[in-house]
Amino acid sequence: MKASELYSKSEDDEGRNVKKLMDAKRQGGRRDYSALMDNVQMRGRLNPLSKLFRIIIKNYKILIRTRTSALIFLLGPLLIMALVSIGFNTSTLYGVNIASYSESYSPLAEALISNLSSGEYIIQKVETQDKCMNAVKLGEYPVCILFPNDMAVDNSARNVITLYIDESRLNIANAITEKLSSKVAVQADALSMGAVSQILNALDNINREAEAAKSGSAILSSNNAEEASTLATALSSIEDFDLTASAIDTSGPASEISSIQSRLNLSSSEFTALTASVNTVINEYNSIRGKLDTAKTNAGAVQENTVSAKNKVNADTAIIRDVNAKIDTIKTNVGSVKITNVESIVSPIKISVQPLTKTKNYFIYILPALLILLIMLVSLLISSTGVIREKESSASLRNFITPTSPGTFLLAHYLTYISIIGLQSAIMLGVTRIFIKDVPFTTYLLALALLVIFATLFIFIGMFIGTIFNTGESATVASVSIAIITLVFSNSILPLETLSGFLRLVVEYNPFVMMEKMLKGLFLFEASIASMTNLYLILGFIGGAALITIVLQIMREKLMR
């Protein structure tokens, strides 16, 4: 009969089963226990590694036989990484619902909505502004957009689009605001480009017209110069006119005629004729003289007019010169507009955001933080609860009274935990590699090494927690608290830049922050291990944590006694 058949777990059956066993024993006859007294080969110094190995095997067996633990420890990370990698293996937002409101949607607003709707956003128009804002407060929509009434591009417009965002959803609020702003900015740029284009065309026309005016003005100027010269010549000619005629002394010709008459003895008729002729000539002369006087007077007037004309021509020339100078100024001013490219005027400075990473999806961005978070939590919990379990185990006393040093147990526990976490890390990185293929394999190997180093630190911290606490519950709470503090004061929830000075300085030395930087460098920028100076700090922390744990273990044993 098998003993397993004899025994049952029921307390009531126990006595009966023992009786059966005793009967079976009696039937089996007398036993020889002499083997008990044999001197066993046990006093020899066994290789400490052999003990170490046996403790690790024991830890593994216990872990594997606690099936739920084994499943959680091995399949948990696998599942998490698979889900996260499938879920976040994208580079865009999907179906982001946005509430919008405007008292009257203008064509411009509609065009904007249409533009936004063509992307990853679903714009839902709501009836009132309050509804729009309340929808954000209630979490129905992450963003509410308010378009101004009759939004249009004209001189009287104040085209302010208001976004109401739920800032508590920092991660998505910032992303949506940024994307919306950029989309609106694109539309605004298009509008600006139209307006600026018009201005530039006008300037171009001005330039051309000024050029034409300038050539006209040059002709005018030339003509004026000619005219001025002509007038000067005319004036000179006029000035040269001598229209002075002295009055004739009529007594002279009369005496001469008398003389001639006397000398030539002219008849009176002849004399009269001659006198008449002379008088006619005199009269003619006087007439001419009168005309000359008139001409002189007229010439003076002409001279005056010519001078006036000349002065006017000169004045016109000055005006033309002035106009010319102004045209030149206009041309110079228009010509001084060096940037004539519409795009350059609308967006004189452009921000070009160039990714430094080859892979462009959300998964690789969250991968470092996710890996660190998982490794940190698992390391803390597995080691703290492991130490507590060992402490609570009634077998711990037997461990204690064996000739095995506490250091051997400590090392064995560390090696057990680190090998489990190393395996988990390998699984997680293996799953990651399925989704992110363009990261070199060596990067994964380096990441594994970094994670193992990181896990070492938190295993020692977990062992420290397990040593100072006495119950699984308190150790778990302490571990989770440490994990939360480490996580909160990292870049994962809020940027470190939001922290105040001293705290920020301290948080820079948060192992989570340091390790995240290193893993980001590795995955996103293919940084070399040599460039990761934080690694030395982490190694220092590990040394410190290990030392504290060992010292605490020794002190605890001493205090206990």
């Binding site: 046990m42 046996r54 006393l397 037997r398 009274i401």
Partner: protein
């Protein structure tokens, strides 16, 4: 001639804060003996064992093993003492065989020795057929036996047992005591604590009574009983039970005490044979019919009660 002591506690005191748990305790455990330390819960039994094992450090006093102070020779304790606690010091998720192998390896045993020793121990504790069962699948009695086997895996000279029959039903307790006796018979010194005075009385060759952290008596069960009770007890139950008349006829016959109970009478006397002879004669001559008649020495329980309450 004083027996050779394998373990000796010399003026051991231990305090936890202001509370003094042990006060100037001195005991010698003879080699090969079955030594019982009895006391009420909280009397300091387990503390004394823990000091022996080095789990706690005494506030003052010395502990010797094989004549050497253990302070300077801790490895002697580790390698020569096996210890079974009140709880079961085995891993529930390891099999019977794996538990033995694990602790054997921690004791520095080689694989071959572990196998040989495990086989013998499994045979001793009757778990050979169950060696591949997980410890958590064993019954309480089997677990206790496995615990003892784990204590013996390194073939210690002394087996220290802290309340080994605690939580066991009478059948399993008897089984366990038989097993421990067997181990003692194989030459090992047994040091056992218990508050089950009846079992200690039966199995222990020497007893120390600890009370309020002090050893108040030491000796074999017989010595203690003789020391504290010279009387035998005669328990008589008759029908119709006219005890008063019987007592009148008996007269003042060297009786230390008489206790009349509802349906029986208990007579305390240093000369039980003489009193019994007279009593039977009275019954034979009268109309009384014997229903039950028992004569026994006072139990350790009674001695213990007397000592601790005096």
């Amino acid at each position: 001639m004083e027996e050779e002591a394998i373990i000796k506690f010399e003026n051991i005191s231990k305090s936890f804060g202001r509370k003094k748990v042990l006060n100037n305790v001195s005991i010698s455990i003879p080699r090969g003996s079955y030594f019982g330390i009895i006391g009420l819960s909280g009397s300091g039994k387990t503390t004394l064992l823990n000091i022996l094992l080095g789990y706690w450090k005494q506030s003052s006093g010395k502990v010797f093993f094989n004549g050497k102070q253990i302070k300077h020779n801790k490895s002697a304790i580790h390698t020569n003492i096996g210890f079974a606690t009140q709880g079961i010091s085995v891993y529930p998720l390891l099999t019977v065989k794996e538990n033995l192998a694990y602790f054997g390896r921690l004791y520095g045993m080689k694989e071959e020795s572990i196998n040989k020793r495990s086989k013998a121990l499994l045979d001793l504790i009757d778990l050979t057929d169950d060696e591949d069962l997980l410890a958590k699948e064993l019954s309480t009695g089997m677990l206790r036996r496995l615990d003892i086997a784990c204590s013996l895996i390194h073939n210690p000279m002394v087996l220290v047992l802290d309340e080994p029959t605690e939580d066991l039903d009478p059948v399993l307790r008897k089984e366990m005591l038989a097993l421990i006796k067997k181990i003692n018979d194989s030459g090992k010194t047994i040091m056992m604590t218990s508050h089950m005075l009846d079992e200690v009385e039966v199995v222990c060759s020497k007893i120390a009574i600890i009370h309020n952290g002090e050893i108040i008596e030491t000796g074999s069960p017989e010595e203690l009983k003789n020391r504290y009770s010279k009387n035998d007890e005669i328990h008589l139950s008759t029908k119709p039970g006219n005890y008063e008349e019987m007592l009148k006829k008996l007269g003042k016959l060297n009786l230390s005490n008489i206790v009349l109970k509802r349906n029986k009478i208990v007579l305390y006397t240093p000369s039980a044979e003489k009193v019994l002879k007279h009593l039977l004669a009275i019954i034979n001559t009268g109309r009384e019919k014997i229903i039950s008649l028992k004569v026994h020495r006072p139990t350790m329980e009674e001695v213990f009660e007397y000592i601790t309450k005096r």
